[in-house]
Amino acid sequence: MLELHAVTAGYDRRAPVVRDASLTVAPGEAVGLLGPSGCGKSTLARVAALLHRPDSGTVVLDGTPVHRYRHRAPRDRRTAVGVVFQQPRLSADPRLRLTDLIAEPLRATGRRAAAPARVAELAQTVGLTADLLTRRPHEVSDGQLQRACLARALVLRPRWLICDEMTAMLDASTTAALVRVVEDYRTSTGAGLLAVGHDRTLLNRWCDRTVHWDTVTSTATKVLT
């Protein structure tokens, strides 16, 4: 299970953007988290991805509470979670060719040897051609870069996937294509998914269940978008 218990988090302890949020994702389950812009969804997604330490509350990953976040999180925990963000340009190192971008987590975890085969397999899965793999982020479109970012998120075969507005910048066809990649991955591996977004139609079509931000946070905070 991926469990968030009473998580309060933000950027200023006096004014947290997430208050008392609780949410559970079971293995193999696809949960949509629906909320308006600026409500704090992305912040909660970063907590769930172990990228942001909450001010209070706990994250329990596969039965074990998380104590350390970001680069301090133990490797086996960090690699259990794959993340895709809304803006591929902000989350991709502009110096890396797409092939190295996808392989980055393998290198970082000392599995460099596995990279060529795994990257080739994933490129096929997400629909990137060999020519595109040799380019750097500024030489590809947002849609192509997001395909690479999704491949990177899958490269370590995570048990959990967090997609924060993964398709918000993308056209309808690329959206449908990337959602299909995620769903094929979930079906074949039994991974759980937390898909964060503001598009009700999309999340309802994509996920087993969709929860609204107001029901996840006990004290629905009024935040302007």
Partner: protein
């Protein structure tokens, strides 16, 4: 949309980027369209298909390695041949209001939204005096639904949605006859998309022309009078929005694929990827992904009627022809 002369008239617009080693990127090829006062034309298509390059060409904001051909007339001015001084002093902000793709990057990071709005009001309107500028800036903010209690914030202290509204407020200050919105609703939730789009529509209804570039088909459906679909740098279909989104639907296989990919339709992606703009096939650029392709499609389909396709769907009935 009928007999009035268009605000913007684009004829045969092409943009090429010259790369080292003699490579050429055909970002926009032979675009033809008009936008009339009181009309919104939505330009849709997947990322990287040339929409923003087309917008940059109209604004004279292309990088130095770009070459343009064709005409883009804004009244008596051809935007493609105007010099930078003319564009900077008389066009951008005054005759074309730009609502940019990445608002955060477009706003000045070190200054508050209030101060940027006041400066723009002072630059583009006759308003003078501290109190009057303050009021005008607040009114400009209100028009884009930017919350007054956030006016003293800096851009980095705003969410994506608020940054977008700040940029919209700035674009509206000059009351330009043509508004050019590049992905104005990216990152906004549906309520905000609707409100932003409705606000833009009000400006259209106040007799401005709006060219709205978007990949958000729901936003396009809500605002547009006509829809232009771009694929691999070419406009492949240009038609009335109600025909496009309603019955009988679009006629180009790519347009149909895009609509079918929506989560409230079949949610099926178009197979494959668009071709490289530096290496386009001689014939129809969609052929490799098209289930209607035949040998005829190795020749470039001319734009006839409303569509550039050798085998458009559905075949027009006599009633459609005079629509």
């Amino acid at each position: 949309m009928t007999e009035r002369s268009p605000v913007l008239s684009v004829r045969g617009l092409s943009v090429r980027f010259l790369l080292p080693g003699g490579r050429r990127i055909a970002a926009v090829t032979d675009a033809h369209f008009d936008v009339a006062p009181g009309e919104c034309l939505a330009l849709i298509g997947e990322s990287g298909c040339g929409k923003s390059v087309l917008a940059s060409a109209l604004l004279g904001l292309l990088p130095a390695n770009a070459r343009t051909a064709g005409h883009a007339r804004l009244g008596d001015l051809d935007l493609l041949t105007s010099d930078e001084r003319t564009l900077a002093r008389t066009v951008r902000g005054r005759r074309i209001g730009l609502i940019p793709q990445s608002p955060a990057a477009h706003l000045t990071p070190v200054r508050t939204i209030r101060s940027q709005l006041q400066e723009t009001v002072a630059q583009l309107t006759g308003v003078r005096g501290r109190a009057a500028l303050r009021t005008a800036a607040e009114q400009a903010a209100a028009r884009a639904e930017f919350p007054p209690d956030h006016l003293d914030r800096h851009p980095h202290e705003l969410s994506g949605g608020l940054a977008q509204r700040a940029a919209t407020a700035l674009a509206l200050v000059g009351e330009a006859p043509l508004l050019l919105a590049d992905e104005p609703t990216t990152g906004l939730d549906r309520d905000l998309v609707d409100r932003t789009v409705d606000e833009l529509r009000r400006h259209v209804d106040a007799d401005r022309a709006l060219l709205m570039i978007t990949h958000d088909l729901a936003a396009a459906e809500r605002i547009a009078d006509r829809v232009a679909v771009m694929y691999a740098g070419r406009i492949v279909e240009l038609t009335a929005a109600d025909t496009f989104f309603g019955a009988p639907g679009p006629r180009h296989p790519y347009s149909r694929g895009l609509l079918e990919a929506l989560p409230d339709r079949s949610f099926t992606p178009i197979p494959g990827l668009p071709p490289e703009l530096g290496d386009l096939p001689d014939g129809c650029a969609f052929a490799a992904r098209c289930d209607r392709a035949t040998d005829a499609c190795t020749a470039l389909p001319p734009f006839t009627d409303s569509v550039a396709c050798h085998h458009p769907v559905p075949a027009p009935t006599p009633e459609d022809i005079r629509a």
